[in-house]
Amino acid sequence: MAIFPFVAIVGQESLKDALLMSAIEPAIGGVLALGDRGTGKSTAIRALAALLPEIEVVRGCPYRCAPAAKIGLCGVCERGERVVAEHMGAPVVDLPLGATEDRVVGALDLERALAKGEKRFEPGLLARAHRGFLYIDEVNLLDDHLVDLLLDVAASGENVVEREGLSIRHPARFVLVGSGNPEEGDLRPQLLDRFGLCVDVRTSTDLAERMEIVRRRDAFEQDSSAFIKDWSKKTAALRKRVVEARARVQTVTLPDAVLAKAVELCMTLGADGLRGELTLMRAARARAALSGETQVSMDTLKSVAPLALRHRLRKDPLDDTDAGIRVERAVSEVFVP
C-alpha cells in the first residue's frame, strides 16, 4: 500500500508540527490527535514512516538496539557480542484494535514451544516500535488495561514481561501517538494528560484549501508512485531538517526569562504537576531546533503552549469554552508587554 507523502498534506499545521517535534525530541511524551472524521489524522501519522530518517541497528537484534549506544541495550547486545550494523526504515507501528495482549507485550513463542518444547520469547509490538512511533487509531476504543500498559511502557522506556514462566525485560522507547473522535466518547482525563502534546484537528473551511486537498488526493489515487516521486525532493528536504534538528536539539538553550514565563503560564492555567512545564520546555526546544534557532524565544514558547497545555486544564463541565482558547487567553495575560 502506497503511503501519501507527509509533505503533500495540505494544512493541519499543528498536527504536523507536533509529530515532527516528537520525532526530534521523543521525551516530549507522545501526541494525542483529537478531531473530526476525514481530517487526515491517520494519513499524517502513517506518512511519518516514509519521512523519518533510517535508523542504524545491530544486525539480528530483535529489539533494534543502536550499535553506537552504550546504555539501554537489550540483554544480548549488552554483552557486546554483536557489532555488525545495518540500516532500516524508522518503525511506525500501527496497533490494530483487535490486538491481544500477548502480541503487544510479547509472549512465549508458541511454535517453538509446541514443536521443540523450547521456551523462547517472541517479542511483541512494543519491541517492534522501539526507537520509533506506536500509533493507536480510535484510542478511546482500545481496552483500558491495554492503554494503561502502553502508557506505562512509554513512560518508563522499558517493557517488563512476567508471564508463562518467562521473565524478560527489554528496551521499548517509542513515541505514543493516539487519535480519536471526541464524538465517539470522551477520553478518561488521567489518560489525556499522560500524552505530551494534544492537537485539536479540524477540517479546513477554506474553499481553496479544500480544493487543493481533493486535487492532491485524486492525483495520488490515480497514480500513487508518480505522485510520491513528484514530492520526493520536498520529502528529502524535510528529512534533512529533522536530522539536523535532532543533532541540535540538546544544545538549544532556554533563557531564564523564558523559563519563568513558562512556569507562570502553567500556574495561571492551574495545570497540575510538573508535567506541564517539562513538556512545554521540551516542545519549545524541539520547535526551536526545527526552525534552526539556537535559543528558545518567547514567540516559540507562545506557539507551542496550546499544544502542550490544552489537555491539562481543570475541567469545568459547565464551561463550554474551547480549551485551546483558554490557553490562548492565558498566554495573552501572561505575556503582557
Partner: protein, 599 residues
C-alpha cells in the same frame, strides 16, 4: 381506506403517482450506486442503505456480485462477530493436530476481492466498526493475536444495511464516512425494481473510458463548495463525490462530466451526510438558504461566506430536496418496531456475571469454580512442558495438568447505560429539561474511569422522542441538547413504553440499562395519543408493569411541588426507587443516580 367505495380524488391520485415516481427514482439511484461501486470499487469503497426491505437488499447484493464479474463472493458479517473471527487468529483444532501454530483467516481477509455485507449496521459494536473502518482505509488486515503476527490484503466493497430505530441514529465509529454512498430506501416496495439494464458491455466500455474522463475546474469547485455549505466537514465526502461524478459520466459514455452528473453524484454522496435540520416542521415562509446556520463552529460563523455561484446552489438544492424526500418517506412508513410489543426479555440476559461482558484476559484458576476455561491460554501454558512431561496414554497429543488451567477474565460489570426519561410537557418543561441536561453533563464529566453512557427520552404532546441515543460523549450531549423541545400534554405511558423499548435494545447490545424518570406521575395522554386522564393513567400503569418485568434498576424522581400519591403509585408499579425532588437540582439528581443506581 376504502378505495373501492369512493374513487380517489384526482388530487390524491396525483400525489400517489408522484410518490410512486419518487420511489422508482430512489430505487434507480440505489441501483446506480451499485453500478458505480462495480465500476470503481477501490475508489468508492461501499454504500450504506437505510430501511431497505430484505428483497431489495438481496437484489442489490446480487447485482453487485454479478457486475463485479460474477466471481465476486458475498461475505456476511454477523453484528456480534468476535475479534478473532473478524481479523483471524489461531485455529486451535488444526494447531493441535499439526503440533505447530496454524492460523485461521478472519472474515475480512476472506472477503478480499469480494463484497462484505453488513446487516443491521446501526447495531455494530464501536470496536468492530472501527476495525472495519481501518481495513477499508488501508486495504489490508493486520492480525496481532494469539502469538500470530500476520498481514494480508483485504480489498472489498462494503454494503451496509441499516434499519435505524430513530431517524438519524448514528452509525458507530465513522463507518459511514468511509463508504461513498448513503441512501434511504425506506418505503420502496420490492415489486418496483425493474430488470437489469446495465450490460457487461456497457460496464466494460465505461471502465475503458474512465481514465479519460475530465472534470471542469468550476465543477470541482462547486462540488467542494456545496459540501461545505451542507455542513459536511469530512474531506472524504468531496473526494467520493468527485469520483462518483466521473463514474456517472463514464457509464453514460462521455469523457466530460456535466452539471447533471455532478448533481446526481451530490445526491448519492451528500444527502446522508448533510447537516441540515429538516426534522422540525418547516417554518411557514421558507427562509432563503442560510448557510451559516449549518455551521455550529464559532470560528466558521465569524467568516463571512461569499455568495454561492449558480452551480453550487444547484447542487445544494438537489441535496436538500433529496433529504426532505427521505424524511417524508420515513414519516409515511409506519414504524412497526416502535409500537409493536416485543416479547418480554429473555434471550440470555440473565447470564452469570462471571461469563458476561467483554473478555479482558486470562488468569490461573479452576474452570469448575472460577468461570469459563480459556482453552487457548491453557494450552499455551501447557505447551512448553510437553517434552519433559510423560505423554498420557490413549492417543492424546498434549498433556495438560491442573496447574495449567487458565480461566477467562471478563470485565466485571457490563457497561452501564443510564436512560433519562423526562417529562417535557407543560410550562415548566424547559426548566426540567435543563435540569436533566445538567444532570447528564455532570454524570458524564464525573465518570472518570467508569464507562457509562447516557440517553435521553423526552415525552410531550402525543408521544415520546429519543432526543439523545446512548452516548459517552460530552461533546455530543452538548450539541444535541442545545435545543430542546417542550410543552403540550403529558403522554407518560408513551414515555415509559419508549424507555422499556430502549432497555430491550440496549440489553441486546449486552449493556446494562438503568432508567431514571423525572416526572410528576400524572399522564393525561393515552398510549395511542388520545387525551383523557383515565385511559392515560391505565396505560401508564400497564406500561410501568411491563418495565418492571424487565427487571432492570429504575429510579423515579417525583418532580411535583409536593410529593404526590400518583407518582408514588406509578413508581411502585415499575418497581422503582422513589425520590421526591420538589426543587430542581441537577447536582442532586446526578449524585443520587450515582449512589442509588450505579454504585
Amino acid at each position: 381506506m376504502t378505495a373501492a367505495a369512493a374513487p380517489l380524488s384526482s388530487e390524491r391520485q396525483a400525489s400517489r403517482d408522484a410518490f410512486e415516481r419518487i420511489d422508482a427514482a430512489r430505487w434507480g439511484q440505489a441501483d446506480l450506486a451499485v453500478a458505480l461501486l462495480a465500476l470503481m470499487p477501490h475508489r468508492l469503497k461501499g454504500a450504506i442503505f437505510e430501511g431497505a426491505s430484505p428483497e431489495l437488499a438481496g437484489l442489490l447484493q446480487d447485482r453487485l456480485a454479478a457486475r463485479l464479474g460474477g466471481a465476486a463472493l458475498l461475505h456476511r458479517m454477523p453484528i456480534s462477530i468476535t475479534d478473532d473471527r473478524l481479523v483471524g487468529g489461531l485455529d486451535l483444532a488444526a494447531t493441535l493436530a499439526a503440533g505447530r501454530p496454524v492460523a485461521e483467516t478472519g472474515l475480512l481477509t476472506r472477503a478480499n476481492g469480494g463484497v462484505l455485507i453488513v446487516p443491521m449496521a446501526e447495531r455494530l459494536r464501536g470496536r468492530t466498526a472501527a476495525q472495519l473502518a481501518r481495513v477499508i482505509d488501508t486495504g489490508d488486515v493486520e492480525t496481532e493475536r494469539d502469538g500470530l503476527s500476520l498481514r494480508a490484503e483485504a480489498r472489498f466493497v462494503t454494503l451496509a444495511f441499516a434499519d435505524p430505530d430513530e431517524p438519524g441514529e448514528r452509525l458507530p465509529a465513522g463507518l459511514g464516512d468511509r463508504l461513498a454512498f448513503g441512501l434511504s430506501l425506506q418505503g420502496v416496495s420490492p415489486a418496483r425494481p425493474r430488470g437489469e439494464a446495465l450490460t457487461t458491455e456497457i460496464l466494460a466500455a465505461a471502465r475503458a473510458k474512465l481514465p479519460q474522463v475530465d472534470v471542469p475546474d468550476e465543477l470541482i469547485e462547486a462540488l467542494i463548495d456545496a459540501a461545505l455549505r451542507l455542513g459536511i466537514r469530512s474531506m472524504r465526502a468531496p473526494s467520493f463525490c468527485l469520483a462518483a461524478a466521473c463514474g456517472i459520466a463514464a457509464l453514460a459514455g462521455r469523457t466530460t462530466v456535466t452539471d447533471a452528473d455532478a448533481t446526481l453524484a451530490s445526491e448519492l454522496v451528500y444527502a446522508s451526510r448533510a447537516l441540515i435540520q429538516f426534522e422540525a416542521p418547516p417554518p411557514p415562509p421558507p427562509p432563503a438558504p442560510d448557510p451559516p446556520d449549518t455551521n455550529e463552529d464559532t470560528n466558521d460563523a465569524s467568516k463571512p461566506q461569499p455568495e454561492p455561484d449558480e452551480l453550487t446552489e444547484l447542487l445544494v438544492d438537489a441535496v436538500r430536496v433529496r433529504v426532505s424526500l427521505d424524511m417524508a418517506a420515513r414519516r409515511q412508513t409506519p414504524r412497526q418496531r416502535t409500537r409493536q410489543e416485543v416479547p418480554a426479555g429473555k434471550s440470555g440476559d440473565m447470564v452469570d456475571s462471571r461469563r458476561r461482558g467483554s473478555r479482558i484476559g486470562a488468569r490461573a484458576g479452576d474452570p469448575r469454580r472460577d468461570g469459563r476455561l480459556d482453552l487457548l491460554s491453557t494450552l499455551r501454558t501447557a505447551a512448553p512442558w510437553q517434552r519433559i512431561r510423560e505423554m498420557p496414554t490413549g492417543g492424546a497429543v498434549i498433556s495438560v495438568r491442573a496447574a495449567d488451567f487458565r480461566v477467562k477474565r471478563f470485565r466485571h460489570r457490563s457497561e452501564a447505560v443510564v436512560i433519562f426519561v423526562v417529562d417535557a410537557s407543560g410550562s415548566s418543561a424547559m426548566n426540567r429539561l435543563a435540569e436533566a441536561k445538567g444532570a447528564i453533563e455532570l454524570l458524564l464529566s464525573g465518570c472518570y474511569s467508569r464507562r457509562e453512557s447516557v440517553a435521553l427520552i423526552a415525552f410531550r404532546k402525543e408521544g415520546a422522542d429519543l432526543l439523545l441515543s446512548p452516548t459517552r460523549s460530552l461533546t455530543r450531549v452538548k450539541r444535541s441538547l442545545s435545543r430542546l423541545p417542550g410543552g403540550g400534554g403529558t403522554p407518560l405511558a408513551s414515555g415509559i413504553a419508549a424507555a422499556a423499548q430502549l432497555v430491550r435494545i440496549e440489553r441486546g447490545k449486552r449493556k446494562a440499562p438503568h432508567v431514571v424518570f423525572l416526572s410528576d406521575g400524572q399522564g393525561n395522554i393515552a398510549l395511542d395519543g388520545s387525551p383523557g386522564r383515565e385511559r392515560a393513567g391505565q396505560d401508564a400503569r400497564d406500561m410501568a408493569r411491563k418495565l418492571k418485568a424487565l427487571q432492570e434498576p429504575v429510579l423515579f424522581f417525583d418532580i411535583s411541588r409536593r410529593p404526590s400519591a400518583d407518582a408514588e403509585l406509578i413508581s411502585t408499579e415499575m418497581g422503582a426507587i422513589y425520590r421526591p425532588l420538589p426543587i430542581a437540582d441537577a447536582a442532586r439528581v446526578s449524585r443520587d443516580v450515582r449512589s442509588l443506581l450505579l454504585d
